[in-house]
C-alpha cells in the first residue's frame, strides 16, 4: 500500500462511480481488459461480448430480464425498525443507509416481484449487490421471508437471485437472526410442496450462504461467480497459504457438489422456466429451452 493506492485510486473510483447510467461510455472487462461499449454490454444482459464475463446485474434489470413482457407486480415488505443499535463505525449506519438508498433508488438490498415467467406465475426475489454489498439485515430478511410467504399464498415457485457479502454488520446480532428467520420461510415453502430455486450470482458469501441461499431445491450458479462461506482473504489470513486457482468459483462448487449447474445468463430464463414447469408438473412452455444433451453412442462392448 502506498499513497497511490490509498488516495489516488479511490478518487478515480469515486469519479467513475458518480456517473450514473453513463452514455457513450466504454468499460473495461475485468477479466481480459478489453474495452467494450457499455450499451452493448447492457443489451447483452450485462455479459461482456467476447470474453463472456458476467458483470453484476441490478435488481430491476434482473426482474426485467425474467418476467414476461418485462412486467411484474412489486411486492411490498413490512417496515423494520431503523438502526435499533444506534450503530456507528467510521460513519453512522443511518448515513450509510441514506446514501445507499439515494444511490440505488431501493429501500434495501432485496427487491421482490410477482409475475409470469414463460406463462407460469412465479415470485422472484433479487438481492442487489449495489445496496451495501447486498448485505443481509432486518429489511432484506423480511423481504426474503415475504417473498417465500407470497409464493406460498399464490401457490407458485420462488426464485431467488443471491448476491451478497454476508450479514449486515451494522445491525449486529439482529442481522445474524436473519439466518434462522429466513430458514423458517424456506421451511414453509417446502411444506407447501412448492419449488425453491436459488441462482447464485457474483458474489454470494457469508451469512446468506449459511442460510436461504444454500437451502434451495435446485442451486444454479452463474459462470465465474465467487460463492463461499468465508471470504478468500479471511481464509488466506487463517491458513497463511495461497488459495488454489478457481477456488470458490461456480465451476469449483459444481465440482464439489454444492450446485446443480452453472448456467450462462443468456440461458438462465429458459432454464428456470423449464425447471419451474417440471417441478410444478405444468405443461411445457414456449421459452426456448436448451437443447437436449446429445446422445452419446454407447461404447461397443469389448470382447477382449
Amino acid at each position: 500500500m502506498n499513497w497511490i493506492s490509498n488516495v489516488v485510486r479511490p478518487k478515480i473510483r469515486n469519479m467513475l462511480a458518480r456517473r450514473d447510467t453513463p452514455e457513450n461510455l466504454w468499460i473495461k472487462c475485468p477479466e481480459t481488459g478489453q474495452l467494450v461499449f457499455f450499451k452493448d454490454v447492457e443489451a447483452n444482459q450485462f455479459v461482456i461480448p467476447g470474453s463472456n464475463y458476467h458483470m453484476r446485474m441490478g435488481a430491476t434489470a434482473r426482474l426485467k430480464s425474467m418476467f414476461d413482457g418485462e412486467t411484474w407486480l412489486d411486492i411490498g415488505v413490512r417496515d423494520v425498525p431503523l438502526d435499533p443499535l444506534k450503530f456507528r463505525d467510521a460513519r453512522r449506519y443511518t448515513d450509510r443507509l441514506k446514501d445507499a438508498r439515494t444511490k440505488t433508488g431501493m429501500n434495501d438490498a432485496v427487491k421482490l416481484g410477482y409475475g409470469r415467467l414463460d406463462g407460469l406465475p412465479v415470485v422472484i426475489g433479487v438481492q442487489d449487490f449495489d445496496f451495501m454489498g447486498g448485505s443481509l439485515g432486518m429489511a432484506a430478511g423480511e423481504a426474503v421471508i415475504k417473498g417465500l410467504e407470497t409464493a406460498v399464498d399464490k401457490g407458485s415457485p420462488f426464485i431467488l437471485f443471491a448476491a451478497s457479502g454476508g450479514a449486515r454488520m451494522q445491525e449486529g446480532i439482529l442481522a445474524l437472526m436473519q439466518l434462522p428467520r429466513t430458514t423458517v420461510g424456506v421451511q414453509r415453502l417446502r411444506e407447501a410442496h412448492l419449488p425453491y430455486i436459488v441462482v447464485l450470482t457474483n458474489p454470494t458469501t457469508g451469512g446468506v450462504t449459511a442460510s436461504y441461499a444454500m437451502l434451495g431445491d435446485v442451486h444454479i450458479a452463474e459462470p465465474g461467480a465467487l460463492i463461499g462461506f468465508a471470504g478468500p482473504r479471511v481464509i488466506e489470513q487463517t491458513i497463511r497459504e495461497k488459495l488454489p486457482e478457481g477456488f470458490q468459483k461456480s465451476e469449483y462448487l459444481k465440482e464439489h457438489g454444492m450446485v446443480d449447474m452453472v448456467v450462462p445468463r443468456q440461458e438462465l430464463r429458459a432454464t428456470l422456466a423449464n425447471l419451474c414447469r417440471l417441478l410444478t408438473k405444468a405443461e411445457p412452455g414456449t421459452a426456448a429451452i436448451s437443447p437436449a444433451p446429445e446422445r452419446q453412442a454407447l461404447p461397443a462392448p469389448s470382447n477382449a
Binding site: 437472526m177 421451511q187 444454500m214
Partner: protein, 317 residues
C-alpha cells in the same frame, strides 16, 4: 496457577499478598496474620465484585474467552450421567470441535451437542479451538434427527469464535452444513434449549442456537462477527476491537433488551472461571426450568412456538 486478565490487576495484587501472608503464617505462628488475611480476603472479594459488576463489552469478551472458563465437556461431566459420545457424520469424518451424544439430565434422556474449545494446548489443537468444520455440523444434524425420531430433547452448548475458515471446510460445503443445521433445529418436534456458554460467534453459533429457549451466561458474548473481525472490516483498523465490541451490542444485557435470548444465567462472583462448579450448577438449574416450561407441549406446538419466536425477533423493537 490462576491467570489474571489485565483489568483484574487490583485483585491479583491482593491475592498475591494473601498468598505471601499464608506462606508466612505457615512458617511461624502469628495470630495477627490470620486477621490480616481475613481483612485482605474481604477486600479482594469486594474489589472483584466491583470490577465484575461493571464489565465493559470488551472486558466481557476477555472473560468469555478466559482459558479457565468451564467449557462444553465440563458442563457435560457436571450435568449428565450415563453420557455416550457419538462420532462422525457418516459421510466424510468426525469433527472434535463439536461434541455430541446422549445421556441423562436429571434422570431423563437428552441429546447434547456443543462446541468444545479445549482446556490445554493439546486439547485445543484436538478440538480445533472450538471452530467446527462441515463434518461437525453434519454430525449435529445427524444426532438431532436421531433425537427427534426418539422424541428426545436436545441441549445445545454454544462456545465458538465461529465456524472454521479453511480450504477443506469450504470444499466440503461449510455454508450448506451450517444452513442445514439451523434448518434441522427449526424442524425439531422435540423441544430444544441452547446455552451460550462463552462465545456465540456468528453462523457457527446459530447452527446450534436456534432453540425454543436460548439462554446465555451473564458474561458470555453473542455476535454476528468477532469484535476483531468487525474492526478489521468496518473500521479497517484492527486496534478498534474495543469500540466494535461496544457498538455491536454483544452482552447478555443487550441480548435481553433486543429480545434475542430468553434468560440470563448469573455467574459466580468474579466470573465462571473462578467457580466452575457453581456456574455449572446454575446452568443445570436454568436448563431444568426451561425444560419444565416446555414439558407436555405437543410436537407441533413445540415446532410452531420456536418458528414464531424467531419470526418475531426484531419486529417489536
Amino acid at each position: 496457577m490462576r491467570s489474571y486478565l489485565d483489568f483484574e490487576k487490583p485483585v491479583a495484587e491482593l491475592e498475591a499478598k494473601i498468598e505471601e501472608l499464608r506462606a508466612l503464617s505457615a512458617t511461624g505462628d502469628n495470630g495477627t496474620i490470620g486477621e490480616e488475611i481475613a481483612r485482605l480476603e474481604a477486600k479482594a472479594s469486594g474489589v472483584l465484585n466491583d470490577i465484575y459488576s461493571e464489565l465493559t463489552p470488551w472486558q466481557k469478551t476477555q472473560v468469555a474467552r478466559h482459558p479457565q472458563r468451564p467449557h462444553c465437556l465440563d458442563y457435560i461431566a457436571g450435568l449428565m450421567t450415563d453420557f455416550v459420545p457419538l462420532a462422525g457424520d457418516r459421510t466424510f469424518g468426525d469433527d472434535d470441535a463439536i461434541i455430541g451424544g446422549f445421556g441423562r439430565f436429571r434422570g431423563e434422556s437428552v441429546c447434547v451437542i456443543g462446541q468444545e474449545k479445549g482446556s490445554n494446548t493439546e486439547a485445543r489443537l484436538k478440538h480445533n479451538f472450538g471452530m467446527a468444520r462441515p463434518e461437525g455440523y453434519r454430525k449435529a444434524v445427524r444426532l438431532m434427527e436421531m433425537a427427534d425420531r426418539f422424541d428426545i430433547p436436545v441441549i445445545g452448548l454454544v462456545d465458538t469464535a465461529g465456524a472454521y475458515p479453511g480450504i477443506g471446510a469450504e470444499e466440503r460445503g461449510q455454508a450448506e452444513a451450517i444452513a442445514r443445521s439451523t434448518d434441522t433445529c427449526l424442524g425439531l418436534g422435540a423441544p430444544n434449549i441452547a446455552i451460550v456458554l462463552g462465545e456465540g460467534g456468528s453462523g457457527g453459533a446459530i447452527a446450534l442456537a436456534t432453540a425454543n429457549r436460548v439462554l446465555m451466561l451473564q458474561h458470555a458474548i453473542y455476535s454476528v462477527i468477532s469484535p476483531e473481525g468487525a474492526a478489521s472490516i468496518l473500521w479497517r483498523d484492527t486496534t478498534k476491537a474495543q469500540e466494535a465490541a461496544t457498538n455491536m451490542k454483544i452482552t447478555s444485557d443487550d441480548m435481553t433488551w433486543l429480545g434475542i435470548i430468553d434468560g440470563v444465567i448469573t455467574e459466580p462472583a468474579g466470573g465462571a472461571h473462578r467457580d466452575p462448579a457453581a456456574a455449572i450448577a446454575a446452568t443445570g438449574a436454568a436448563i431444568d426450568k426451561a425444560f419444565g416450561e416446555l414439558n407436555g407441549l405437543s410436537r407441533d406446538t413445540v415446532r410452531r412456538q420456536r418458528r414464531d419466536k424467531f419470526l418475531n425477533i426484531g419486529r417489536s423493537l
